[in-house]
Symmetry: C2
Subunit: 225 residues, 2 copies
C-alpha cells in the first residue's frame, strides 16, 4: 500500500498554484520546507522571505509558484485531505459490513496516523499539525465563496461526502448525515486543538479518546452495532 500511494500524484486544483511545485526541485523544496516553517512559526509569522532564505532561494522565485502564502496553505491542506482520502478509500474498501466500514472510516479520520512516507517525502505529522492549527483560517475569510467556486476545497468536500455516503449506507433514514460527517471531520481537528491548548475543556488527552468519542456519538446517533 505504501508503494502504491507513493507513486500516486494527488491532483490539487490548478487554481491553487501558478506553477506546479511538483514539477521542479525548487517547487518540491518550497513544499517540504514550508511545512517545517509554517508548523514552526504559524501562518501569520510565516512569509515568503523567510521561506526563501530557508531554502537558499529567493522570495521572487517562490512567487512564481504561489500567489501568496494563503494559497500555499490551501495547497498544503488539499494535499493533506488528498492523502487522507486515499487512506480512507483503501482502508475501508475491503470492509463489507456497512457499520464496520463506517467505524473504520472514523478511525482513519480521527486517529493520529503513523508517519509513513505515503506521499513523496513530506512529513505527514507536521502537515497534520498545520491542518489542526491553520486549516480553519484557510476558509474563514471574506473570499471563501470565490475560493470555493475556484475549487480550492474540492478534495476536502469530496472526502466529507465519502463519509456521508458511508453514514447513509449504515443508516439510510438518518436525518443528518452531512451534519454528522462535518462534525466528525472538523470536530476531530477541533478536539486535538483543544487537547493542546484548552486542557480544561478536554476529558482526556489520549488520542484514542477522540476516536472513542466520535465512535460513541455515531453508534448512538445511528443506532448501529
Amino acid at each position: 500500500m505504501e508503494s502504491l500511494l507513493s507513486s500516486l500524484k494527488i491532483n490539487v486544483n490548478t487554481c491553487l498554484y501558478i506553477k506546479d511545485p511538483e514539477s521542479s526541485e525548487l517547487g518540491q523544496n518550497i513544499i517540504s520546507k514550508s511545512i517545517d516553517l509554517i508548523e514552526e512559526l504559524g501562518i501569520e509569522n510565516f512569509n515568503f522571505k523567510k521561506l526563501g532564505s530557508a531554502i537558499k532561494s529567493n522570495e521572487s522565485s517562490i512567487y512564481r509558484y504561489f500567489e501568496n502564502k494563503y494559497k500555499l496553505l490551501q495547497y498544503l491542506s488539499a494535499l493533506y485531505w488528498g492523502i487522507l482520502e486515499y487512506r480512507l478509500v483503501i482502508e475501508t474498501n475491503a470492509v463489507e459490513d456497512s457499520s464496520k466500514k463506517l467505524l473504520k472510516a472514523i478511525k482513519v479520520l480521527t486517529l493520529t496516523p503513523q508517519n509513513i512516507a505515503y506521499y513523496s517525502n513530506l512529513d505527514q505529522l507536521k502537515l497534520r499539525n498545520i491542518v489542526i492549527s491553520e486549516f480553519t483560517k484557510s476558509y474563514h475569510h471574506k473570499h471563501v465563496d470565490s475560493d470555493n467556486d475556484d475549487g480550492n476545497f474540492k478534495i476536502y468536500k469530496r472526502l466529507v461526502l465519502r463519509l456521508v455516503e458511508m453514514i447513509k449506507d449504515a443508516r439510510p433514514d438518518y436525518a443528518y448525515p452531512k451534519s454528522l460527517a462535518c462534525q466528525i471531520v472538523e470536530g476531530a481537528l477541533q478536539q486535538y486543538f483543544m487537547q493542546r491548548h484548552f486542557t480544561s475543556l478536554v476529558d482526556s488527552t489520549d488520542d484514542k479518546k477522540v476516536y472513542d468519542f466520535f465512535k460513541d456519538i455515531t453508534i448512538n446517533a445511528l443506532k448501529i452495532q
Copy 2:
C-alpha cells in the same frame, strides 16, 4: 428579563483592553461601530484607521483603548459569550428536570436569537455573525497559550463548563461530557458557517435543523428522554 440584562455589565477580562471602552462615549462608539465594520469587512480587511474615520475619530485614539484589532476581536467575542452565558443561566434556571434543562440549554446555544437589546445597544445578530466568522481566528494562533493564561477566553470556557455540568446532571456516567459540550458550542458555529458557505455539506439551511441535529446527538449519546 430584558431590563435586568440591560442593566448588567459583562465583566470582560481587563487584559483585553487598555482603557475600558464602556467608560466613555468614544469607547462605546468604538465597540458599536467596530461590530458593524468587522462584520462588513472581516477582521483581515478591518483596521483602526478605517474604524477611526467611521466614527470621525482618530486611529491613535483607538489605540488608547485596544492594543490591536485582535484584542478588540477577543473583547467582542467575550462580550458575545457573556451575553450568551446570561441568557443560558436565566433561561435554564427555572427548569427542574435535568434533561429538559439540558435541552433548553442546547436551544439557547444553537438557535439564532432575536435581536433584543439585551446589552446596551449593540447589535447582537451582527455580533453573532462576527463570532461565527471570526471567533476561530481569535485563538488559532501561536500566542493562544499566553492569551489563555491572561484569561482572555475565561467567559467562553465558563460557558462551556456550565454546559458540561448540565450534561453531567442529566447523565452522571457519560464518558465525554467536555467533548460533547465543546462540540455543541463550537459545532453550532461551524454548522452556521457551513450553511452559508459550504451548502453542499449541509442537510438543511433551516436554523432549526442545527438545534435538531445537536438535540438528536445529545439525546442518543446520553440516552435521555
